[in-house]
Symmetry: C2
Subunit: 363 residues, 2 copies
């Protein structure tokens, strides 16, 4: 019974890609002999980068040295976005999956799986009666988790961005590794992290990118998601896990679309959440008094943390500064975080590293 | 704060692919204007299928009508295997990820998520002291699972094939949906299913496909995997979940490489397993007396089920028949399953549907 199955496996001719050098340089390669032009779409780069063809029809480009991180990329061959046939590490996404490449794994990074005790990530499916479709959420439980603990765990609801799926914060954001590492360092209190599918309506995905440019649909999406989270996801979590139901043990945070969902859900439900984090929030209307009715100093002072972050190269930085100006004009306090970087996971992983220790008495 | 992030999103020109018709026909399309030849690699088809180019540079092929199922595919553009840029549903794999397409989702299929109570899939990470690297396993717990149950659950160890990762049986094999559906029908007893990363050495992946053609490495891989399962995975499962440690409550099954691992581990440890299933097993040496030392009628009669399946179009069918002849020559009883189909997940999902009810008093 020899391995005859393999002789029938058909594969691409071997091209090494991506090739990561110890100094943080990366060379990308694509065999594409008949293409007229191949470019590299690299996370955080506004414009595609040129690639050069060699005589064998292999297109290549070398970037860096780059900082230790995890970067998403694709090739663009004569206008068509392609995954790298030589790289099996994939960034899941409902509209445009890409490949991932890691730099600097030889040195410890807070977002990489390390030799520390690990939590467990649990995947739940459910039928939403509110929305009428099949949905899912992931739950991180910390190392040493006790399912029948008398002392209830605090809980962070952590939301992904537009086009991501519910696996994004673990598969791309490495939230489980980040929590494991910060808990091991004593900087984060053991907590439960819940990562639900973040759409109030799946029309946001069925209609693809134009859905995001439709303000009515975006608003419907935000509203339905809040309702779904409060009336279906949170009750399921509280029935399946020993989580505290006190507001001072509940946080909500997210990136981009999920950042706005965190602000909208958190600031309208200060009786339910004491911590709100928005990483590069996007898609809010700019009449903030309408977006956040009734929000005032008295309300907001009940928050232990209101944390708003954005990369200074993010195209949303101006909109985020507007939001922050409005909060200031209302004398509403918040932590104002601006970091280098664009609308990327390199920014959001670091946001989580900075935000998680602020919760529930971490340090 | 309008949706300016989306106007900067760069996307492939819209091409619909795959387009599934209600009658089960599928049309695949790839915009690839400068390619000389594009073909379709479709799960279960021995040879790539031709695609035709239109004036706009879109290559297409229509298959079917096909039976309701989930099929993997890729495009081959001038010899290079490409993912479908229009399809975000991906079959994870450590050597060659592909796209998935579903036919017949409008009618209930046992491998699709249905409106029945759902179990939960738990993802565990650990450092192997035996092998020295980071590893993972997934655990399915059935609907209504009680983490502190006094009555212990029976447990199936379910192993993937060569080049798959630990997520294969849930992400591609839909094992959680299959178990949910069969439990809802009363055909399968609530059980725990453990799906570990199935390599005894990751050289099997680092060296790519040639590793599988190396009999010494394959044998090392089988031996180390058995040891890993017995000394590291099973103890962790038994400490984290209320699983029975009786042999009559333990099963092992797998596909291809995992089928051989199930035979090698199960038949050499009849004191630990009462059920063994091999779906299209591959990679065993053909001197079975050496592969299974000490296996005889007395030993084998302690098994409640020894179940060996293979598709009649599988290139491994001859080798599987040889193994079965040897078992017969030793008067060792087994259930002999030959079904239509090749070395594909269409076969293995159906294998699990047939095998799971045979375990632990199902029907």
């Amino acid at each position: 019974m020899l391995g005859s199955l393999v002789s029938s496996v058909q594969t691409t001719p071997a091209v090494e890609s991506p090739e990561v050098q110890p100094d943080g340089k990366i060379t990308f390669r694509l065999l594409d002999p008949n293409a007229k032009e191949v470019k590299l779409h690299f996370e955080g780069e506004k414009n595609p980068l040129p690639m050069m063809r060699d005589d064998a029809g292999v297109w290549s480009a070398t970037l860096g040295p780059l900082d230790p991180d995890i970067y998403a990329y694709q090739f663009i061959s004569d206008g068509v976005f392609l995954m790298d046939p030589s790289n099996s590490i994939i960034k899941p996404n409902l509209l445009q999956p890409q490949n991932l490449v890691r730099v600097g794994v030889a040195t410890p990074q807070l977002w990489e799986v390390a030799e520390v005790p690990h939590g467990v990530v649990h995947h739940h499916l459910f039928k939403s009666t509110l929305i009428g479709d099949q949905r899912d959420f992931y739950v991180y439980t910390p190392p040493g988790f006790e399912p029948k603990a008398k002392k209830k765990y605090p809980v962070l609801y952590l939301l992904h961005g537009y086009s991501d799926d519910a696996s994004a914060w673990t598969a791309v954001g490495m939230a489980n590794a980040i929590l494991d590492n910060l808990i091991a360092q004593g900087r984060v209190k053991p907590m439960i992290v819940v990562m639900p599918l973040g759409y109030g309506t799946m029309e946001m995905i069925r209609l693809k990118y134009p859905a995001w440019d439709n303000p009515e649909l975006r608003q419907l999406n935000f509203g339905m998601f809040s309702k779904l989270l409060l009336t279906e996801v949170i009750p399921q979590v509280e029935s399946a896990y020993p989580v505290s139901t006190k507001r001072e043990d509940r946080a909500i945070a997210g990136l981009s679309m999920g950042g706005s969902e965190s602000l909208l859900t958190g600031l309208k439900n200060i009786d339910k959440f004491a911590y709100v984090g928005a990483f590069s929030p996007g898609g809010l209307g700019e009449d903030y008094a309408i977006e956040f009715p009734g929000l005032d100093v008295t309300q907001a002072s009940q928050l232990r943390v209101l944390w708003i972050a954005c990369g200074t190269s993010d195209s949303l930085i101006a909109a985020n500064r507007k939001l922050k100006s409005w909060l200031k004009s209302q004398s509403i306090g918040f932590t104002d975080i601006e970091t280098p970087g664009a609308h990327t996971w390199m920014v959001w992983r670091r946001n989580l590293v900075s935000f998680a220790p602020l919760l529930f008495g971490g340090k």
